[in-house]
């Protein structure tokens, strides 16, 4: 029995009387792709942001590789090998695609002072180029990220999360607003990235089909609570989940 990479226990985030995240617990195993689904406003993103130190959880415990990370900042989490993407597009619009990728990992190499004297790519050029090829961004590699199409920006956004070789990546709606062809591409890329080095993913996604195909296990969130956790097949068979989704 291997230990989980990420273990969340009794996570609560309340705003006044409203509990946006209400006593959520789950664990992500090494090499696992863990999906989170649920209707709008069910607290998925709030849960994400609480786990990632973006907002302070009201209660609960979060462990990374068995160590408590509950009150760490996003910066500290990044340094410990946790990558993420955001629900909305978050690329650096005025930098080129290649620079976006380089800046995504440069702080993981060398010392602060050393970086002042380092080469402009901080030795990350080859790695950035590899990802650019893997994500089919070669043609736009030297264009400003802000000038690209939405789908391409989305790819850059996802690629950035992988630049620093994180052990755990949390993706918030990687397929939102992306055309169906690209959705398949993203699924394939994520599956590839998962196979190498046994990386673990947590993915929030509305596209149920995408989640069903890609994820090893799925958590369904409704009104801040984890309604069910299980394999895609189990979730498909769960009557409560269907009710929640159909709004009965």
């Amino acid at each position: 029995m291997t230990a989980p990479v990420l273990e969340v226990t009794g996570l609560v985030k309340s705003y006044g009387a409203i509990r946006a995240v209400d006593d959520v617990s789950f664990a992500v195993m090494p090499g696992e792709i863990f999906g989170v689904i649920g209707p709008n406003g069910s607290g998925k993103t709030t849960m994400f942001n609480s786990v990632l130190g973006q907002i302070k959880p009201s209660a609960g415990r979060i462990e990374l590789d068995g160590r408590d990370i509950t009150h760490l900042s996003p910066l500290q989490l990044s340094r410990r090998g946790v990558g993420r993407t955001f629900q909305s597009l978050q690329v650096f619009g005025r930098m080129t695609v290649r620079d976006n990728l380089i800046v995504a990992a440069q702080e993981h190499r060398g010392t602060m002072l050393g970086r002042m004297f380092a080469a402009t790519d901080n030795g990350l050029g080859p790695k950035a180029d590899a990802l650019i090829d893997q994500f089919h961004l070669r043609e736009v590699a030297h264009r400003r990220a802000g000038e690209l199409s939405y789908g391409q920006q989305k790819l850059v956004d996802i690629a950035m999360a992988f630049m620093s070789d994180p052990d755990l990546v949390l993706l918030d709606e990687p397929c939102a607003g992306v055309n169906p062809v690209l959705v398949d591409d993203i699924a394939r890329l994520l599956r590839d990235l998962n196979r190498v080095r046994r990386r673990s993913f947590v993915i929030i996604e509305h596209n149920v089909d995408f989640v069903q195909k890609l994820c090893h296990r799925i958590m369904v969130m409704v009104e801040g609570r984890a309604m069910a956790i299980g394999t895609p097949a189990e979730i498909r068979a769960n009557k409560h989940v269907l009710d929640a989704y159909l709004g009965n």
Partner: protein, 317 residues
């Protein structure tokens, strides 16, 4: 495509700055030196405001701290060469301090925090007479000599300021090309995303203030020696505003922006003097018109022209 012409223009400009000054009279030489001093200061502010995206309306204070450091050090009988690095270091440290409000508040609040700092620094210059000479200032600030070469003459001092400007520009270029430069840009574009990628937003915010401040400190040191007199008047809020104006008008976040911005801020009022009593009104109007025409600053003009050329070459649909 646009890179080459821009650098070419830069080289031609540089050559002009090297070759033409011996033919200028003292007023022209002095103005050029004055302009260069503000180019140095504005390059620093451009790092803070343009690259790292931090609102700062208190930069004149650093110019003042630099100027007073050199004046006080030289009055105490020490060399200019001690004063110059001291100015830079002192401003670096104070700049780090000014960065702290930026960790807590942003945009307009930060602008007012820095503006308030400018006011406070001015009060210290005016009231701490034992240190700064108060409102009567410090007179007879000398000019340095280098390896037995006297830099006291207007032409010699001009070349000295030019050399410092080139060195500071090269150093800044180095910093901006290093990973730091990307980190600053990331900080400006999206601090939250930057932090999630492991960029130490706190450290880079403070650094952007500190580096910007130390450039202004160096500029201040040169200014003290250029005017050979220091009093609080040139370090008021108005100058902080003007420096911010120079950054934006030149093109914030562009490398050559400060040089052009300082032309507008320092030389344009002088050129407008033919308008007599109305020259500052003309200057204000010119700034408004310039902003309306090129909201991205003067250096957005090539991009604008390029965009227009592309639009024109496209067949109409």
């Amino acid at each position: 495509m646009t890179r080459q012409p821009r650098w070419l223009i830069g080289m031609v400009g540089m050559a002009a700055l090297l070759v033409l000054p011996p033919f200028l009279r003292s007023y022209g030489l002095y103005l050029l030196s004055y302009w260069l001093v503000f180019v140095i200061a504005t390059m620093g502010l451009n790092l803070t405001v343009g690259y790292a995206g931090q609102a700062s309306l208190g930069h004149a204070a650093f110019l003042g701290i630099g100027a007073y450091s050199v004046a006080i050090v030289m009055k105490a009988g020490c060399s200019f060469w001690l004063g110059l690095p001291l100015s830079a270091v002192l401003c670096f440290v104070v700049g780090l301090g000014l960065g702290f409000p930026a960790l807590r508040v942003q945009s307009i609040y930060l602008a007012f925090a820095t503006l308030g700092f400018s006011v406070a620094a001015l009060l210290v210059m005016r009231y701490e007479e034992w240190l700064t000479g108060g409102t009567s200032g410090i007179n007879d600030v000398g000019r340095p000599s280098l390896f037995g070469l006297d830099l006291g003459g207007n032409l010699a001092y001009y070349y000295f300021v030019l050399a410092v400007a080139v060195v500071v520009a090269a150093l800044l270029r180095g910093v901006l090309r290093s990973p730091w430069g990307k980190a600053f840009t990331a900080l400006r574009d999206n601090p939250i995303r930057a932090e999630s990628l492991g960029i130490d937003v706190r450290a880079y915010t403070l650094l952007s203030f500190a580096i910007g401040a130390s450039c202004a400190g160096i500029a201040g040191a040169l200014l003290a020696s250029l005017v050979q007199f220091v009093d609080p008047t040139p370090f008021g809020l108005g100058v902080s505003f003007t420096m911010y104006l120079m950054v934006v008008v030149g093109g914030s976040g562009t490398f050559f922006g400060p040089a052009l911005g300082a032309v507008v801020g320092v030389l344009l009022p002088e050129w407008l003097r033919f308008a007599q009593g109305w020259y500052l009104t003309a200057f204000g109007v010119a700034v408004i018109v310039l902003m309306l025409w090129l909201p991205g600053g003067l250096l957005s003009l090539p991009d604008r022209l390029k965009a227009r050329a592309i639009a024109a070459s496209r067949p109409r649909t």
